[in-house]
């Protein structure tokens, strides 16, 4: 749940990168970290296994500028993609304001994408969230690889709600900021201002 401090005019939002294992969630966050000036980023936290797979989460705090007088801070998290880390994924989704679903475009990973998306919907429901009401941006990653599913098919199979989607090659930074900007905009537009 986003946190708006009206006294200090600050907005804090939590964005979670979700998706199947080895899809490129951590690569997205690492690229953002590399390209952000040092005064605007906090310490990036990565909790990895020995072979650099995400064990618990990656975390990157991003201090951006002001929008209509409000200072904005985005907390970017990734979940561990491997199937057996379901409990960790549920924890990280607590208090989420916006989601990026990083799908692996390779043909052989389509089943993993579908399974992960179904898991996301289920995990959100268990915590009282309706996926259709949480800002969600789809990212079709690894578009530089040879054996990829056409974008139309990705949309047909994974994006029935027609959420905004972007093609990406996260390892080269292609589509990374476009995705982040879109989810940030959706999250800011979704902040309720009625209660303090």
């Amino acid at each position: 749940m986003s946190f708006v401090n009206y006294h200090t005019k600050e907005i804090n939002c939590k964005i979670v990168y979700y998706g199947p294992g080895l899809g490129g969630k951590t690569t997205n966050i690492q690229y953002i970290y590399q390209k952000t000036s040092s005064q605007n980023k906090g310490q990036m936290i990565t909790l990895n296994t020995e072979n650099e797979r995400t064990l618990f989460f990656d975390f990157l705090p991003l201090d951006l500028g002001e929008i209509r007088g409000f200072k904005t801070r985005f907390h970017l998290y990734t979940v561990p993609g491997q199937v057996f880390y379901e409990a960790s994924r549920k924890l990280i989704l607590r208090g989420v304001d916006g989601l990026v679903f990083v799908a692996d475009s390779q043909v052989e990973r389509m089943e993993a994408n579908i399974e992960s998306l179904m898991g996301l919907e289920k995990n959100l429901l268990e915590q009282g969230y309706d996926l259709s009401k949480v800002p969600l941006v789809m990212q079709w990653n690894k578009r530089d690889l040879p054996n990829i599913v056409p974008v139309e098919d990705m949309n047909q199979q994974l994006n029935k709600r027609k959420n905004p989607s972007f093609e990406a090659v996260a390892s080269q930074g292609v589509g990374v900021f476009e995705t982040l900007k879109m989810v940030s905009k959706s999250v800011l537009l979704n902040i309720k201002g009625g209660l303090e």
Binding site: N40, F59, G65, H75, S184
Partner: protein
């Protein structure tokens, strides 16, 4: 009594108390957002996210093995004889927060932990001294905070962030 936000309450209580402690004291919301840090610096947001994450992971682990009856009675420790982490959770206005102490080169960690337990008890009493506030709907803020945001505004926001 003037209405205070949670951040103001925590800050007003802890600011003087933490000076006497040989530890970095952090208070965070359940979603990892910082409420208080006695050592404000570039690591603040990350430290708060980890305090929240490590507690919730421990709680999930405990619940998997044995049902947890009252999580507020738990405390979480990770320490050697001179350095470590000590965490509690507490409720305020029906929301859960975490209080964490991170210490290093501490001559008497047991004494420090005792001081933190006492401080947490006193803080709960301090919070209880405030009248329970009903959530007030401020009609001027009804609906959404932003009615619309243009792509140019988002580009400017990121440009200010050095991106």
């Amino acid at each position: 009594m003037k209405s205070m936000t949670v951040i103001e309450k925590v800050k007003s209580f802890l600011e003087t108390k933490v000076q006497a402690l040989e530890a970095r004291i952090i208070v965070t919301r359940e979603d990892g957002i910082t409420i208080f840090d006695s050592t404000q610096n570039q690591t603040t947001t990350s430290v708060a996210a980890l305090v929240s994450g490590v507690w919730q992971a421990s709680e999930a682990l405990m619940s998997l093995v044995h049902p947890v009856e009252n999580v507020l009675e738990f405390r979480l420790g990770f320490d050697t004889s001179s350095q470590g982490i000590y965490l509690f959770s507490f409720n305020l206005n029906e929301k859960r927060y975490f209080l964490g102490a991170v210490y290093n080169d501490c001559l008497n960690p047991a004494y420090l932990k005792r001081q933190i337990v006492v401080m947490k008890d006193e803080m709960e009493k301090y919070f209880a001294s405030f009248p329970v506030q009903q959530k007030v709907i401020n009609t001027s803020r009804e609906g959404y905070l932003f009615k619309d945001i243009t792509d140019a505004e988002i580009d400017r926001l990121f440009a200010l962030g050095g991106i």
